[in-house]
């Protein structure tokens, strides 16, 4: 009898737990769907060709977000140009060369500490260094450099994890043919890691695209007045889309601030979703191409 009861109880607990875990997983989908739906509902009516391309307005209603969208991409690309070489090189060093020791521990410790610094603190650091100390004022370059520091550790981690997916037998096979370490990394390890590496970089690009706090005090909250909407000036103010969203809601004077905010939020969300989905598709395509079908 006792064992029959026990079996029934174990079965019940098992079923209940399966349900609980399933519900937890489901809640993530529901949350995202609700979130996207709500922003879509509020933002969709605002979207128009004019809204997506026109410059913002300071006082009158009817401003657009054209330069902001451009600046978001511009700062993203600048940041990636600075971050990717340093982060991949650092990640390669840590994963392929570093032997346990004081230097390796120090690099790991610094990267982890850097990763935990809140982005607003990084923004204030950027304000101190690029805006005040170097007298650049609010600039696209200052913003991009601040984001570089902010994202270096994460990208380095991504590189390390991508390299970890390469079986050590590939390295051994190459070294056993008389290849040097660098030849092995360059010709075998990196090509084998390219899929997870690309996926990781695109995911981080999505994060950079949406970053706000670190840019408010470094790239500024307005676009260069009187210049073309598509301004490549490294030393010009460069308000991004996410900063604009924050700005119109908290300090904007335009009467249609709420609508501009809703429209900006929708565009931002769609862009970040594109980055995430794009990362998966790209990773899948690269993986398929490299391993043959």
């Amino acid at each position: 009898m006792a064992t029959a009861n026990l079996a029934a109880r174990r079965r019940t607990v098992n079923n209940v737990m399966t349900g609980v875990l399933w519900a937890a997983a489901l809640s993530i989908i529901v949350l995202l769907a609700f979130f996207v739906g709500y922003i879509l509902y509020l933002g969709a009516p605002v979207i128009s060709w004019h809204f997506l391309t026109a410059p913002p307005s300071e006082l009158a209603a009817g401003g657009g977000i054209g330069p902001e969208i451009f600046n978001s991409f511009y700062i993203l690309i600048l940041t990636l140009i600075f971050t990717t070489p340093i982060a991949t090189a650092g990640g390669i060093y840590l994963q392929e060369y570093a032997r346990p020791g004081i230097f390796t521990s120090a690099v790991q410790f610094c990267a982890e500490s850097l990763a935990t610094i809140p982005s607003i603190v990084m923004g204030l650091f950027g304000l101190l260094v690029f805006v005040t100390l170097l007298h650049w004022h609010f600039t696209a370059l200052g913003g991009a450099l601040t984001l570089t520091i902010l994202n270096l550790p994460a990208l380095m981690r991504v590189t390390q994890e991508a390299l970890q997916t390469v079986p050590s037998t590939f390295r051994e096979g190459s070294m056993a043919l008389g290849a040097t370490k660098w030849q092995t990394i360059r010709r075998v390890v990196l090509p084998s890691a390219i899929a997870p590496l690309t996926t990781g970089i695109v995911l981080i690009a999505g994060r950079i695209f949406g970053e706000t706090a670190a840019l408010i005090f470094t790239a500024g909250v307005s676009v260069s007045a009187g210049r073309s909407a598509y301004d490549f000036g490294l030393f010009h103010q460069a308000e991004t889309l996410s900063v604009h969203l924050w700005y119109v809601h908290s300090e904007g004077l335009v009467p249609d601030a709420a609508q501009v905010g809703n429209g900006s939020a929708l565009v931002l969300l769609v862009m970040v979703l594109i980055f995430n989905i794009g990362a998966r598709l790209l990773g899948y395509a690269l993986h398929k191409r490299l391993t043959g079908k």
Binding site: R99, P100, P167, T169, F170, R171, E172, G173, S174, M175, A176, L177, G178, A179, T180, Q183, R187, V188, P191, S192, L290, T291, G292, K293
Partner: protein, 255 residues
Amino acid sequence: MTTTTEIKMCVEDLNVYYGSFHAIKDASLQVPENGVMALIGPSGCGKSTFIRALNRMHDLVPDVTVQGRVTLDGEDIYAKDVDPVTIRHRIGMVFQRPNPFPKSIFENVAYGPRIHGVRSRKRLLEIAERSLRHAALWDEVKDRLDKSALELSGGQQQRLCIARVLAVEPEVILMDEPASALDPIATSKIEDLIGDLKKDYTVVIVTHSMQQAARISDNTAFFLMGELIEIGPTRDIFFKPQDKRTEDYITGRYG
């Protein structure tokens, strides 16, 4: 015709430690040129550790200490001024599990010559064909050289790995249980190939199969718990072992 064989590699008092674990204890042996030497013994006896010391593969792993002398044509491969990269060029290695690179069949074989400076596509194709023929794989892959090596069967992959080693023209080929992950037909192809290779190369092979050692090797070394117990012509090791422990292993009294 005299039967004096040249000594290709010579190991003297080799000791290998993993951290504080003493994996190989004072092993000494000589590898004659152009023959097959088999290293046998139960799992964990140190035969793989031993063979990896012969082309300095332990250099790649932290926490492994190698002591003693290993010479190739009389030259100490662990000497300070010796570059392990040139040693591995002269002493190739085939691993237990086939490990082709995730590249095309051609790129796998061309990899070695490329890293050693061969640029001409025509020359690379010649080397690839010669190596694949030598590894008895050419007829099976000649029409699909640009297909991924990962599409090949396990046995084909292992012969590709052998072709990849042949392409850099080493003097010695080390094989660490090259057939243990393969089916009997693929295994017999690898064994035929080894018999063919010993005309031009010195082969050292680790095997857990005594039948395999008996079929393909000229000399056999028996390892037990990190010690080299006995070494001699394969026939002697199998039919008149000198050491009681060798006899026990040969007759199946050890795992």
